[in-house]
């Protein structure tokens, strides 16, 4: 029976998606929930899984095509009960071992196959497969015990080249090894060469660029600065580092303090937690704090929902989870939509001071920076203290200068005297 694989429902603000890459080809065997194709949207990469076991009959779109919600991407034939019985190209492990003629073990009788399911792959074969992005189960091994040999991979590649050459009518007869889409290699020539390389922006980056420009054009953005003595927080961390980690299984970082301080400050200055929608100001009764993280595709801002209800430990846990997902490009749309206030930590990259840009439709963003030991004056004496510069960029259309400054001072006070966060003053 033919099973359709469709583009999943896209979130409201996302109109369409682009095929970023196929994990499987027509004729390949697939198992349920195995990722078939990556779709790139404005915000995030969506993985579309197979909805059943079977063999891919046909694929309707290629890499780079634009698709909309609910369009049929591919069709799976799920009648084959064991994946791969009719698949010409991709053969699963059991098939490979069953059909391999192990020249030495058996004669006219069936070769004994009590072996484990792991395919042995010789080092040179493995290297070739990695270089050509061939999955382990794609090549049938002809070596002893079904071992995949270099010559097996070479034969496979030759077959692929022949297939590609025959599929592309206009392509020249000369056979090209490797994938159709090339990986960009950052080799801009040696000294003295003036080479330019033109690469179209990925969809994600283009969208980020657009939104940043929007923010700058439409909001009246100003930045106010202050500095905070981080010693009290650092002392607190030092004192309770171990018991905290023991109790919650997560390290006590700075971000949780900043989130907490921000939430308390936001409670006092509701305009900072508000957003503009047309001609209205929307005041939010919840505090969804976005934490800006750097992912491989660019900047993404996953949201801590209802941060006012979260404990320091829960905040730390959530942030670690976001970072991991960002690295793997696996943040979901709902992770990054919304938010009422954002915290951006440029300090991890070494930034001393900066003017963060707003994350629309939010009206303010807090920038954290590196902590530097500076000579400060305390009670008339010069003392070295660990100091961090804070920056608050805000939309002057709804936040007054005085509010912005006092908001930032509140954060500073909370951090310099952490018990204020407990007391709420």
């Amino acid at each position: 029976m033919s099973v359709e694989i469709r583009v999943p429902a896209l979130p409201e603000s996302v109109a369409d998606a682009v095929i970023a890459g196929w994990h499987k080809q027509a004729g390949d065997a697939v198992t349920q929930d195995e990722t078939l194709v990556d779709l790139e949207t404005d915000k995030v990469i969506l993985e579309v899984p197979a909805v059943s076991n079977g063999v891919i009959e046909k694929i309707f779109f290629s890499v780079g095509d634009t698709v909309t919600a609910d369009q049929v991407l591919a069709v799976i034939d799920d009648t084959a009960s064991k994946a791969g019985q009719d698949a010409p190209a991709s053969i699963d492990v059991e098939q490979a071992q069953a059909s391999t003629v192990v020249a030495l073990a058996g004669d006219d009788e069936q070769a004994e196959l009590g072996r484990s399911q792991e395919i042995a792959i010789s080092p040179s074969a493995r290297k070739l497969m990695a270089e050509h992005h061939i999955s382990d189960s794609a090549v049938q091994g002809s070596g002893r015990d079904g071992r995949v040999l270099k010559e097996d991979v070479l034969a496979y590649l030759k077959k692929q080249d022949q297939k590609q050459a025959s599929e592309k009518v206009e392509s020249p007869p000369a056979v090209r090894r490797g994938r159709v889409t090339e990986q960009p290699v950052l080799d801009l020539g040696g000294a003295g060469e003036r080479i330019e390389r033109r690469v179209p922006m990925t969809r994600l980056r283009a969208r980020i660029a657009e939104r940043l420009l929007d923010a700058q054009r439409n909001a009246a953005i100003l930045t106010t600065f202050n500095e905070v003595n981080m010693k009290p927080v650092m002392d607190l961390r030092a004192r309770f580092k171990e018991p905290f980690e023991k109790e919650y299984g997560v390290k006590l970082g700075f971000m949780s303090f900043f989130v907490k301080a921000s939430v308390e400050a936001l409670k006092k200055f509701p305009a900072v937690n508000a957003s503009i929608d047309g001609n209205d100001i929307v005041y939010h009764g919840f505090y969804d704090i976005g934490i800006a993280v750097s992912g491989p595709g660019g900047l993404v801002v996953p949201i801590l929902r209802n941060a006012e209800d979260m404990t320091l430990a829960q905040i730390e846990h959530a942030i670690i989870g976001f970072a991991a997902k960002a690295r793997e490009n696996s943040l979901a749309i709902e992770d990054i939509t919304g938010g009422t206030f954002t915290i951006s930590n440029g300090g991890v990259f070494g930034s001393m001071l900066s003017t963060p840009i707003l994350n629309p439709p939010q009206s303010a963003i807090l920038g954290m920076h590196t902590i530097v030991e500076r000579p400060m004056v305390v009670d008339g004496e010069i003392t070295p203290l660990p100091v961090m510069y804070l920056a608050l960029s805000y939309d002057h259309r709804i936040i007054d200068g005085r509010e912005a400054v006092q908001f930032l001072v509140t954060i500073k006070d909370m951090l310099e005297e952490p018990s204020r966060m407990l007391l709420g003053i």
Partner: protein, 477 residues
């Protein structure tokens, strides 16, 4: 006479027979093994040619003579100064005999452990899978054995030349050459194959002037040409006078010397030796084992004819080792013994004849497995090769053993290793790596991607593999 029944009767307790017998016993069969070997003291001794007058004693003497040569020629280089270096031949022989004795005793012990019935005597097959045992040379049947299966592993004997008959004290076969009581001043060897080279090496190191007379026009034709050429040069430098195209015409023992007349490209030559060794090959011991009524097929070179599973033309009767086709090597015989035992037990065992290594235990040793470059060229198989000279090996230099090279022959397109050739110290050990790699279907690149310990001679394998791809590190490519 009552017949004793056994599941398997093995004829011969050499490396083929004793291994087959032990494997059969391991698989739960009742086994009897009939062996007729008597050592030079007239006592029964297990292990066949290999243990008694072949592999083992020759390796013992090669080791001894090698140490003597090192002491005499190489120690000074190391700053070890020796005065009054002497070779005590009696002690050498005694040591050799001890090694042989201990090993043959070992087989005795293994037979007892595996409950294998050992019967000393000469075996002759009779129809109905009967094995009659008598004393050698006698027709009186001492014992009758009834077998379900028979494994003939009676081995081979040195080829005898009419023109150079074995003469006590003057003309010897390989067995006799291991028993000299003194070092002959001059020694002739008919045949420059593995056995001739090894025996020639032993006595040359101990002081003999050795001349090898080889009838063929090429040296070690079964080996890769690059290897045989390098080995030839080395052996000449070591003092082995190897004469090719030398066809034996006649010998005569006169005035306490062996006079040899041979013909080479220039005509008839005369040469005298104190002693002469005949090492022109071995022939299967298929006579005296059975008569025509057994209907066991023999081929024109007197080997028992068998298929890939060592089955003879008679169901239930197998033959293995030197008495059948294939390289006359102990390890080949042993693995055939295992195959047959397992097949009798119902398993689907096979011997991979493509990956059986050959070794010559000279110094440096010569070892190879698989195809030579010249054989591939002749068969039209496109190949590429990689060579690494031991002179570029750090370990070889530290050992003072830089004579030699490692060569890999790989398929031009698939990179599969088709042949592996070593001429180097410890080649016999190094070759095992190649055998394993080839059994696993390795490509030259696989070896290039494998980590070898440093500093070792084995690293040369790695470098030779790199050399196949023109990227050896320690030599110019």
């Amino acid at each position: 006479m009552s017949k004793k029944k056994y599941d398997v009767v093995v004829i011969g307790a050499g490396p083929g027979g004793y291994v087959a017998a032990i494997r059969c016993a391991q698989l739960g069969m009742s086994v009897a093994c009939v062996d007729e070997w008597l050592n030079h003291q007239g006592k029964p001794s297990l292990g066949g040619t290999c243990l008694n007058v072949g592999c083992i004693p020759s390796k013992a003497l090669l080791e001894t003579s090698h140490l003597y040569a090192l002491a005499g020629h190489d120690f000074a280089d190391h700053g070890i100064n020796i005065k009054g270096l002497k070779a005590d031949i009696d002690a050498m022989m005694a040591r050799k005999d001890k090694v042989v004795f201990e090993l043959t005793q070992g087989i005795d012990g293994l037979f007892k452990t595996n409950k294998i019935k050992l019967i000393h005597g000469h075996a002759r097959l009779a129809p109905g899978k009967i094995v009659n045992v008598s004393d050698r040379g006698s027709c009186d049947v001492r014992e009758e054995l009834q077998a379900e299966y028979i494994i003939v592993a009676a081995g081979s004997s040195p080829v005898r030349l009419e023109r150079a008959p074995i003469t006590d004290g003057y003309v010897f076969d390989s067995a006799g050459a291991l028993e000299f009581d003194s070092v002959p001043k001059t020694l002739g060897v008919i045949g420059a194959g593995a056995i001739g080279l090894e025996l020639g090496s032993v006595w040359s190191r101990l002081g003999s002037e050795v001349v090898l007379l080889e009838a063929m026009d090429s040296f070690l034709p079964a080996a890769d040409k690059q290897i045989s050429r390098a080995a030839f040069r080395s052996f000449q430098q070591q003092g082995l006078d190897i004469r090719l195209n030398a066809r034996l015409l006649s010998t005569a023992v006169k005035q306490r010397k062996v006079h040899v007349t041979y013909e080479d490209t220039r005509g008839a030559q005369q040469v005298k030796f104190d002693r002469l060794i005949v090492a022109v090959g071995r022939k299967p011991n298929s006579d005296l084992l059975f008569g025509d009524e057994m209907q066991i097929e023999i081929d024109e070179r007197e080997y028992i004819h068998v298929n890939d599973y060592c089955e003879t033309s008679v169901p239930g009767i197998y033959a293995i080792g030197d008495i059948v086709r294939g390289p006359m090597l102990a390890h080949k015989a042993s693995e055939e013994g295992v195959m047959v035992a397992e097949r009798i037990a119902g398993q689907k065992s096979r011997v991979n004849y493509d990956v059986i290594p050959s070794v010559i235990y000279t110094h440096p040793e010569v070892a190879w497995v698989g195809a030579t470059e010249q054989a591939c060229n002749a068969a039209g198989i496109p190949v590429k090769t990689g060579v690494f000279p031991l002179a570029a090996s750090g370990r070889a230099r530290a050992m003072g053993d830089t004579d030699g090279l490692v060569k890999i022959v790989a398929h031009e397109q698939t990179d599969r290793i088709l042949g592996f050739h070593v001429y180097a110290s410890q080649a016999s050990e190094i070759i095992a790596q190649a055998v394993i790699a080839m059994e696993m279907g390795a490509s030259a690149e696989d070896l290039a991607l494998t980590v070898f310990a440093h500093p070792t001679l084995s690293e040369s394998v790695h470098e030779a593999a790199l050399s196949v791809h023109k990227r050896a590190i320690h030599i110019k490519n």
